[in-house]
């Protein structure tokens, strides 16, 4: 049993369990949920690098998400380049854009930085709306994904299973990237900047370089996520991939899970996706009826028709509760409980 004491072993086990899931569950809808979780994990982890470690609360990451999505879709549409190649170009463009944005926005601090990041993303969204020749404007881009062929390997992106594994790989990749950044020099620099930028500066930490590197990595991963999203849905439009909702969602995943930690975004993604899908498919209403809320009553009717739409409301409530009562997110909350119990055990 000693083996299972170590973190890596647990993670390995979890990974294997995940990898075996498609063999167990055949329901496309269940797989769809997992794919959503993977995508959300990935986006949360991407934002976490600059937002969590670096403390630079960008509310404009939709810009990079959109770049990843649009680049891969445009390359697919105009040049038949499959998204798994096209997305690399998307990531490169995202990094380039991130450097420009960084040069502009990192001169600003706190609330001004937040506002500038929003402005940049909104400019992108409006740009995509107006540059019809490239982006097809508000109509969006619809494309069919070709099969992936590599030697004997032939993958049709028709069912959910290929997306499941792709999503799993990408999610793991982003988790690993986060863990690596965290223990690297860059990670320590970023955290130093977050805690006290002026002190970090006087210690000789290159502030601009640190922030820009962090943002570049974050942007590249976000763009990768955008490419995956485009591949999965097969349809993108400016409101869907460049809207402020996308930016906010990335932040929420981290805040709710636990900001500045590697496991936080994972937890946040699971909580958010499970909760919102449970609401959307009326699982929660059914659960309430099961525990005795009268189904025929006015309240029952109201719940039945409305809970399905309430998932964003629940997001909102979660954010408010998190900021007020669990500033370290669900992860911090659980940790506090665990350490309290440990302390109690030690005392008794």
């Amino acid at each position: 049993m000693r083996l299972f004491r170590s973190r890596q072993a647990w993670l390995g086990l979890l990974l294997i369990a995940c990898a075996l899931l498609p063999a167990l569950i055949k329901s496309p809808y269940a797989l769809h949920l997992f794919i959503l979780v993977f995508l959300t994990v990935m986006l949360g982890e991407s934002w976490n690098i600059i937002g969590g470690f670096g403390g630079q609360y960008s509310v404009g990451h939709a810009a990079y998400f959109g770049i990843g999505a649009y680049t891969s879709m445009i390359l697919l549409r105009d040049h038949q380049i499959p998204p798994w190649f096209g997305v690399w170009a998307g990531m490169a463009i995202a990094v380039a854009v991130a450097l420009v944005i960084g040069a502009i926005c990192f001169r600003l601090r706190g609330p001004y930085f937040v506002l500038a990041s929003i402005a940049v993303a909104e400019i992108m969204r409006n740009g995509a709306l107006n540059w019809k020749g490239l982006t097809n404007g508000a109509e969006g881009i619809l494309a069919e994904v070709p099969p992936f062929v590599l030697g004997p390997l032939h993958i049709d992106f028709v069912g959910k299973v290929p997306y499941f594994y792709l999503g799993l790989i990408l999610a793991v990749m982003s988790i690993v990237a986060n863990a690596l950044v965290r223990v690297s020099k860059l990670g320590y620099y970023l955290q130093a900047v977050r805690e006290d930028q002026d002190a970090a500066h006087s210690l000789g930490i290159p502030i601009a370089l640190t922030k820009n590197t962090g943002l570049a990595i974050s942007a590249a991963l976000t763009a990768l996520g955008g490419g995956f999203y485009a591949l999965y849905t097969g349809f993108i439009d400016p409101a869907g991939v460049l809207g402020i909702d996308v930016s906010i969602q990335l932040v929420l995943v981290c805040i709710i899970g636990g900001i500045g930690t590697v496991a936080g975004p994972i937890l946040g993604a699971v909580v958010l996706v499970v909760l919102s899908e449970a609401l959307r498919s009326n699982l929660l209403a059914s659960a309430l009826f099961a525990v005795g809320v009268p189904q025929g009553s006015a309240i029952g009717q109201f719940l039945k028709t409305n809970l399905a739409q309430a998932h964003v409301l629940v997001y909102g409530i979660l954010v408010v509760v998190t900021v007020l009562f669990m500033p370290d997110g669900f992860l911090g909350f659980f940790r506090a409980i665990v350490s309290r119990r440990k302390r109690a055990e030690a005392n008794s």
Binding site: R109, L318, V319
Partner: protein, 288 residues
């Protein structure tokens, strides 16, 4: 030439509304250093209140401003007292998140109550207009502009001539010093948040007859209010007034001379330029 004058006039009239929303935002920021991301949702509440009073009781939207303002004042003061107050010493990022969360809660609660349908409030004067020389002015917009101007004047008077107003100004200048001078900073904050909300609510009620009303309409106004406030200088009431008029006019001119699609592009471009080259805004003191 006619097109130019017409665009300028229409822009100024809309700009008055933007100014009102911006003033609310800047007041809140001045006193508490909190950027209220739920400002647009407060405008939306004002719109729904006006719509509700109109469809249920036949109350004219311009009359219901008188009801919307105190209701929104109470709501804002309540928000401040129960929620915002708790994060005043937290990181600015967390304050922003809290107001984002509140915005989501408000807009989605409204969506559950009234669905996400677009409502249109049709009064007898919704499409009426009058002419000054050859320029036509929308009657409801002109009336709302006058009310806005009146409210702004009233607010200036309040800030300059009353004790509470002086307390608000003192707190905006230096919160700690104000506290040392014996100002009840907490109650001042409550009043400021209340007034900020009331102004947003008034703006909502005032445009209700000419706009369409849906739960997510707030986002548009929140973003516009940011632009207005940064342009004028965060915390500056006069700046926000000016900023509102400028943004309204810029939008209108862009619509008339470029295309309606690039209106927002022009506005955000302007916003970014100000952030970069004069982050303190036209009339603000540098706090970057």
């Amino acid at each position: 030439m006619l097109v130019l004058i017409q665009a300028l006039v229409s822009g100024l009239l809309i700009g008055g509304i933007y100014a009102l929303i911006g003033i609310g935002l800047t007041l809140i920021f001045g006193v508490m250093r909190v950027i209220n991301f739920a400002q647009g949702e407060l405008v939306m509440l004002g719109m729904y209140l006006a719509w509700f009073f109109f469809t249920r009781f036949g109350l004219d939207p311009f009359v219901s401003v008188v009801l919307c303002m105190p209701l929104l004042f109470l709501f804002g003061a309540l928000l401040q007292r129960t929620l915002i107050d708790r994060v005043l010493d937290a990181l600015p990022q967390n304050q922003i998140l809290l107001t984002i969360g509140l915005g989501l809660v408000i807009s989605n609660t409204v969506m559950l109550l009234f669905t996400s349908d677009y409502r249109i409030l049709s009064t007898t004067y919704s499409s009426s207009s009058f002419h000054l020389a050859t320029v036509s002015l929308s009657t409801p917009l002109a009336v709302s502009f006058l009310v806005t101007a009146g409210l702004t004047a009233l607010l200036y008077w309040f800030l300059l001539k009353t004790e509470t107003g002086a307390a608000i100004r003192a707190t905006s200048q230096d919160r700690d010093a104000a506290q040392l001078m014996g100002i009840d900073v907490r109650s001042t904050s409550r009043i400021a948040f209340g007034i900020g909300s009331a102004l947003a609510g008034a703006a909502g009620a005032l445009i209700a007859p000419t706009y369409y009303i849906y739960p997510q309409v707030g986002g548009v106004f929140t973003l516009k209010a940011f632009v207005v406030v940064v342009l004028g200088g965060m915390g500056s009431v006069v700046g926000a007034t000016l900023g509102g008029l400028i943004i309204g006019t810029a939008e209108s001119l862009a619509g008339a001379y470029l295309s309606s699609g690039v209106k927002d592009l022009v506005v955000y471009g302007l916003f970014l330029l100000v952030l970069l080259f004069k982050p303190a805004g036209l009339l603000g003191k540098s706090r970057v």
